[in-house]
Symmetry: C2
C-alpha cells in the first residue's frame, strides 16, 4: 500500500507518494509559510500531503499512513514539538494532535535528520545495515542513528542531537550558545568561517580569486582550491577533515555502526572528502586495531531521504 512522506523545512514543505519499494512516485512542494504562525504551517503540511495524493490521482484516505519530518526537537510518541527554531520558534506545540485532525489516516512524526537516516537505511547508501550513524553537514550538523535495526531517539525522543555533542571542550562558540559542539567545527557554516580566517591570513591564496568568481565564500571554496593545490586551502581542508573524523570516531566509539553516512551539501565532495575521512578514522575510534572501523560513505538519496524516511518512520 502506498504511503505519504512529508519533509517540513524552514522554507518549503515537500511531500511525496512513496511505494513499497521506497520509490517516490510523485513529489510536490509548497511554501512552509512560517511567518503566518503555527496553525498556518499545520494547515500547509496537511495541504502538501493532500496535494501529493491528488497529483497521484488519489485522496489521502487511500494511503496507509502519513509520516512527517520536522526540523526540531520533538517527542515522536506524544508528537509534541518542544522546539523548532526554523519554524518561527514553535515551542511546546501539540503538533501530532493538531495534524491528526486534518488527515484521515494514521500519522507519524519524527525529527527530520532521523527521517533521513531511516530513508538511507531502507533504500539508500546504508541499505541492509543494522547499525548506522548519519551526519548531515549543512548550516548545522544533523544526526541520526539506527541501532540494532531501529531508530535511536534517546529518552522521550529528545536525544541523538549528535551535532551538539562535545568535540572540543571550551572551544568555539556554537550557534546553540554552548561551546565546542561538533556543529561548531563540522558544519558548513563553520567550514566557511575556517575558510575566511585562512583567506585573511593569506592574501595570496587562490581562494580569493575563486570566491570572487563565485560571488561568495562557501563550503566549496577551500575544497575546490585544495584540489588545485593551493596551500592555505589544503590546510583548511586537512584541518576540517581532522575535526570531522574525530567527531565520527567518537560517535563510532559510542554506537559501533556498520556504516557511517555523510549527507548534506558538503557530501558533494564525494571521494575527495570520503577518502580523507576514511584514512583518518582509525586514529579516532576506540580499539580500532581489534574491532575495526566502519566505512564512511556518501548518503545516496539526497533530499529524497527525508521524504522516504518520513513515509516509513513507523517501520524503524
Amino acid at each position: 500500500m502506498l504511503r505519504l512522506g512529508v519533509d517540513v523545512g524552514g522554507t518549503f514543505i515537500k511531500a511525496g507518494v512513496v511505494d513499497e519499494t521506497y520509490s517516490i512516485l510523485q513529489k510536490v512542494s509548497v511554501p512552509t509559510g512560517g511567518d503566518a504562525g503555527y496553525e498556518a504551517v499545520v494547515k500547509n503540511i496537511a495541504y502538501a500531503a493532500q496535494l501529493a495524493a491528488d497529483q497521484a490521482g488519489r485522496s489521502v484516505k487511500d494511503f496507509a499512513s502519513v509520516g512527517i519530518g520536522i526540523p526540531g526537537l520533538l517527542n515522536p510518541r506524544t508528537g509534541v514539538v518542544v522546539s523548532a527554531p526554523n519554524l518561527n520558534g514553535w515551542h511546546d506545540v501539540p503538533f501530532l494532535d493538531a495534524i491528526k485532525k486534518l488527515l484521515p489516516v494514521p500519522v507519524f512524526v519524527g525529527n527530520d535528520a532521523n527521517c533521513a537516516v531511516v530513508g538511507e537505511t531502507l533504500a539508500g547508501a546504508a541499505k541492509g545495515c543494522e547499525n548506522v550513524v548519519m551526519l548531515t553537514l549543512g548550516t548545522g550538523v544533523g544526526g541520526g542513528v539506527i541501532t540494532d535495526g531501529r531508530l535511536f531517539v534517546g529518552g522521550q525522543g529528545l536525544g541523538a542531537e549528535l551535532g551538539h555533542m562535545v568535540l572540543a571542550m571550551e572551544g568555539e562558540t556554537c550557534g546553540c550558545g554552548m561551546h565546542g559542539c561538533i556543529e561548531a567545527y563540522c558544519s558548513v557554516t563553520s567550514l566557511v568561517k575556517q575558510t575566511t580566517r585562512a583567506m585573511e591570513a593569506d592574501p595570496a591564496s587562490a581562494m580569493h580569486e575563486y570566491a570572487k568568481k563565485a560571488g561568495l565564500v562557501d563550503g566549496r571554496t577551500a575544497f575546490e582550491c585544495s584540489k588545485m593545490g593551493d596551500k592555505s586551502a589544503i590546510q583548511v581542508v586537512e584541518t576540517y577533515c581532522r575535526y570531522l573524523a574525530n567527531a565520527i570516531g567518537s560517535l563510532a566509539t559510542c554506537f559501533h555502526p556498520d556504516t557511517v553516512l555523510i549527507g548534506g551539501g558538503l557530501s558533494n565532495q564525494r571521494e575527495y572528502l570520503m577518502d580523507k575521512l576514511n584514512a583518518l578514522l582509525p586514529r579516532y575510534v576506540f580499539a580500532a586495531d581489534v574491532i575495526g572501523v566502519p566505512p564512511i560513505l556518501r548518503a545516496s538519496l539526497g533530499n529524497d531521504a527525508g521524504t522516504i524516511g518520513a513515509a516509513y518512520l513507523d517501520k524503524m
Copy 2:
C-alpha cells in the same frame, strides 16, 4: 527463582546469589588467576558460581541462570570477548561457548560497566528509570546506558565505550592511545595527574601535607583539601568538575536520560561532588532551557551493582 551473578575483575571474581527482589543472599570471592591463562580463568569463573551456590546450600542447576560481567569489549550475543586487557589480554576468545560447557543452566554475559548500570536501574539509585547514563570513575571511566528500559550496547554489543568518546579534541593522551577522551580528563588517574601538577605549581598548598600524611596523592587529595579551603585544591576540583560536567552534558545531549549516575571511588565525595556537577550541568546540555537537564546522582549499590546486574542481564 534465584539467579547467580558473577562480576569478573582483574584480581578477584565475585559471585553472588541474587533473589527476585534483587537482594544478594550470599557472596563469595575467588582470585581471578589471570596469570594462569584464559582457560584457568574460565574454570575459576565456573568455580566461583558453584561456590556461591554451594554456600547457599544449593547447586548451580537449582538456579534460573548465571550472568557474568567481564571487564572488556565483548559481543553479548555471540559471547566472544574481543579484548580484555585486565584479564591478561584475552583477545577474540569464545568465552560464552567455553563457560556454557561448565555450567548446567542458561548463561548470559555482558560488559562489567553495563552490568553495573543494569543493577543500579533495577535496584539502585536509578530504580524505575527508563533512560539512564552511568559513569564509573576509577582507574578508567566505565560507561553504561539504559535507553527505553533496555541496555544500550551499540552494534555487535561493542559500543557504549563512553569513556573513550571525545571531550577535548587533540587534548591529553589517553591510556588507550587516543587523545582527548573523556577518560583522559575524568578518570581518577587523570584527577591524580591534575592534582600533582597543581601541587608542583604551588609548594605552599595544603595538598602537600595531606598527601604526606596519607602516604600518596590520590583521588581524595584535592577534594579533601578543597573542603579545607586550599586555593590550589579548589581550583583542581573546579576544573575537574567542569570537565566531568561537560562530558555528562554531551552524553545527556545524546541519550536524554532521566537520571545520570556516578559510580566508582570518587562517588564517595557524595553531595560535595554531585552538587557541583548538578549546578554546572545546564550549561553543557543542548536546549537545556527548553528540555531541562537530568539529575546527577550517586550510584547506591557500590560493588554489588555489578553482581546484581550480571544476574539480571537478560532482563534488560
